[in-house]
């Protein structure tokens, strides 16, 4: 009895100590340089690309499916299933000419009917819509999708919009193919081979692909339980490419891996519920912006990597991005204190609020801890509450029941997509931002057909958000990717995709 208890106590304490010892076993990476294993940390939520909600799924399915157009590395949209397109000068219709002899993975040729069906499905325009399909709200301006001849499709809009192209990356699938969820069929450079939930998603080169043939004949997306588990596998050599390295892991990268650094293309911010009592006051929100030392934040959570942002947009938007706003709110704790005082908060009556942070994102939890410390210095008491991702989606994002929250928002390749959530009537305006001037300028920008005018209007919109301190905009984080030295040419896109077709074997 005596020995047993002693042993149990010892064992228990050791388990607590070593609870994090992941398995180092796992099969070695294949010697065949024509196949690669890519580590991902999220299981796919659906193989039907129109039903997938999470960005992590789209990121992988990007290799299997294509839209009429697809994003390219420099942020422009290049023709894919469509050969060519024209946008009517008034912004009321789009005409697409299909590429000849584009084949689906099941061998059938893509027809105009398939394209009409796919776009209608994404826009929710089918007669019997499948309730599970995630309808892209930006496509709701489409009033009709018409087949004109065998290789031409015309989209008619109910209001002028010259930015719809960024959403027409929605994947083209065969009409009335019912097995999309178990055997997905698309037109991409890779075709589906197998999917084992929580284990792997395997694709192989599609020999009939119309474009350039990918270098790797087979790619396995290995689904790892967590970031740490994936890194363990990487250390043991069973993963060739891992795109979600943390700063700490990057520093420990084994010798046979290269580190590729890009940007995550997200807006990380502490979003403030503008409808919550104290935050309805502009002065309070401005004070919260002035009280943040973003340089220190980047040093602590990102090892100095990452890009400070000043509004709800990230640098990869190029001409639309207003970089002058990065220095609009510099770190000025004294000014923050003054503003707080003017708003009626001081030491005897400190500003208090709760930050809801999704617990699965280490970066946001770390950011929250740094911010609460910085706020403490100006006498603001911010309390962290960790919540699950699903609870975040229902309570914070849809229910808007929160005071402040820290997350990162991604976006499609259209400046309207990243900014439309601030329109006062937008369904996803979870910050409850309400500024009639913003709504007006946004509508103008969306309808504008002159590029230079569009650029200046979108800059004006960003300035409005910054001046109003709609939220505390923090950074566009650095994306750190481990790539086995066997491979080169890992490409970074300004959207959230993981392009394995570009990977080349290193000579």
């Amino acid at each position: 009895m005596k020995k047993k208890v002693f042993f149990l106590a010892l064992l228990a304490s050791f388990t607590a100590l070593c609870a994090c010892n992941g398995g180092r076993t796992g099969e070695k990476g294949s010697e065949d340089s024509l196949s690669a294993v890519v580590g991902i940390t999220q299981d796919l939520d659906s193989l039907d690309p129109h039903k997938a909600v999470s960005a992590g799924t789209d990121e992988v399915l990007f290799n299997v499916f294509e839209g009429l157009v697809k994003p390219s590395v420099d942020g422009t949209l290049v023709p894919a299933v469509a050969k060519d397109y024209t946008i009517a000068p008034d912004g009321m219709s789009y005409t697409f000419t299909l590429r000849e002899n584009v084949k689906f993975h099941n061998g059938e040729v893509v027809t105009a009917d398939d394209v009409v069906y796919s776009i209608k499905r994404c826009a929710g325009l089918l007669d019997n819509p499948d309730p599970e399909v995630v309808v892209e709200s930006a496509l709701s301006v489409i009033s009709a999708v018409d087949k004109v001849g065998e290789d031409t499709v015309v989209l008619k809009l109910s209001e002028p919009n010259t930015e719809l192209l960024g959403f027409l990356t929605c994947f083209i699938i065969p009409e009335d193919y019912t097995e999309q969820e178990s055997k997905p069929v698309g037109t991409g450079p890779y075709r589906f081979v197998s999917y084992t939930p929580l284990t792997s998603f395997v694709v192989e080169r599609f020999e009939d692909y119309y474009g350039e043939q990918p270098y790797l004949s087979k790619v396995t997306f290995k689904i790892c339980a967590s970031n740490d588990a994936a890194f363990m596998e990487l250390l043991s050599g069973s993963i060739d490419v891992f795109p979600y390295l943390t700063d700490e892991q990057a520093a420990q990268l084994p010798e046979d891996y290269n580190l590729a650094v890009g940007s995550t293309n997200v807006v990380q911010a502490m979003f403030l519920n503008n409808a919550f009592g104290p935050f309805a006051d502009n002065k309070v929100r401005e004070a919260l912006c002035y009280a943040v030392d973003k340089e220190e934040l980047l040093n602590i959570v990102g090892g100095g990597r990452g890009h400070v942002i000043g509004s709800n947009m990230f640098p990869n938007f190029g001409v639309y991005y207003d970089e002058t706003l990065e220095n609009y709110y510099t770190y000025q704790p004294e000014k923050a204190k003054e503003l707080l005082k003017a708003a009626g908060y001081d030491e005897s009556n400190p500003l208090k609020f709760t930050v809801k942070v999704p617990s699965n994102y280490d970066i946001h939890v770390a950011t929250a801890q740094v911010l609460t410390e910085q706020y403490k210095k100006v006498g603001v008491q911010a309390e962290i509450q960790l919540i699950e991702w699903s609870a975040w989606l229902t309570d914070v994002y849809r229910g808007r029941e929160y005071e402040a929250t820290i997350v990162a928002l991604d976006s499609a390749l259209a400046p309207s997509d990243v900014l439309k959530r601030y329109v006062s009537t937008a369904k996803n305006n979870f910050v409850n931002y309400n500024n009639p001037e913003f709504d007006e300028v946004f509508a103008k920008a969306l309808a504008s057909t002159v590029e230079s005018e569009k650029v200046s209007l979108y800059k004006e919109i960003q300035q409005l958000l910054t001046k109003d301190a709609a939220s505390v905009y923090l950074q566009d984080g650095a994306k750190l990717v481990a790539v086995n030295k066997k491979f080169t040419n890992f490409l970074f896109y300004p959207v959230y995709v993981l392009d394995v077709a570009a990977l080349k074997p290193a000579e």
């Binding site: 009895m1 002693f6 420990q252 602590i300 770390a366 801890q369 960790l386 609870a391």
Partner: protein, 274 residues
């Protein structure tokens, strides 16, 4: 009885007691001092000394925010022990009442309550605590409530089995003949006689509570950041296990000495009456 006497058993110094007492004393001292004084502010960050190795200025080094690990262990141990003691108190008080009544009176209520007890014990405690926390939200209070409820069955069973044996003994029958009431017999006569098994249950319960707190906070369901607790510290140290092992070693060591210390002490308490 002096401490020196208590440390002896059969005239010889008892090594288990000495080590146990030493460990518990160290753990208590560190956590008590931590309530009033820490070398640094446990939450103060410093980007310049992220993950610094142990040195004279930072005894256990610093963590990934540049916070002093020793200060955080002092503060975190206090939190963890407080959770442990609260959990055991809830479990022990409710468990004693439940076990005493069912054990003493028996009958249908005993049968039903003990089957409920069995059912509760059959569910993995972490899983049940997870359900509790996801329904009522995460936080220290919810954690204490969840773990407290989970700890009731083990105490109830220990106390009940004691009562079942004791109530048949002559002294209880005598007391009844003398006209003592049921409550008096239960809590004045029987309870002191099962003291020893209850004490070891308390010690083991405390250890389990500390480990459960660590596990729950490790799953980021207990104590909320930036507050320190030993489990949270372990959880936060995980990514830095190779580069900055002191982040995990310091709180792990603290859990080890406290759990081991209490375990060694309780070992003796139980054995004497076996």
């Amino acid at each position: 009885m002096s401490v020196a006497c208590w440390l002896k058993k059969d005239g010889k110094y008892n090594i288990n007691r000495i080590i146990g007492l030493l460990f518990v004393a160290i753990a208590l001292l560190i956590s008590l001092v931590g309530c009033f004084y820490t070398p640094y502010d446990p939450n103060a960050m410093n980007a310049d000394i992220k993950n610094a190795a142990p040195s004279f200025s930072h005894l256990f080094g610093t963590d990934n925010f540049g916070r002093d690990v020793f200060s955080r262990v002092m503060k975190g141990a206090g939190t963890t022990f407080l959770v442990g003691i609260s959990v055991v108190s809830i479990g022990a008080v409710c468990g004693c009442l439940l076990g005493a009544f069912t054990g003493y009176f028996g009958g249908l209520a005993d049968l039903i309550l003990m089957r409920v007890n069995d059912a509760l014990a059959a569910i993995p405690s972490i899983l049940l605590a997870l359900v509790f926390v996801s329904v009522f939200g995460s936080g220290t209070v919810q954690l204490v409530a969840a773990l407290g409820i989970l700890f009731i069955p083990s105490f109830a069973r220990v106390v009940r089995s004691g009562f079942v044996v004791q109530k048949e003994l002559d002294y209880v029958k005598n007391a009844r003949l003398m006209g003592a009431g049921h409550l008096r017999i239960m809590f004045v006569h029987i309870l002191p006689n099962i003291k020893s098994s209850l004490l070891s249950a308390l010690a083991i319960g405390f250890n389990n509570a500390v480990l459960s707190e660590a596990a729950m906070s490790y799953l980021s369901l207990g104590v909320q950041p930036p507050d320190a607790s030993l489990g949270r510290m372990l959880s936060e140290a995980q990514p830095y296990l190779f580069r900055a092992p002191w982040n995990a070693v310091a709180p792990g060591l603290m859990i080890l000495i406290s759990v081991l210390g209490v375990g060694l002490l309780s070992l003796e308490g139980g054995e004497k009456h076996d």
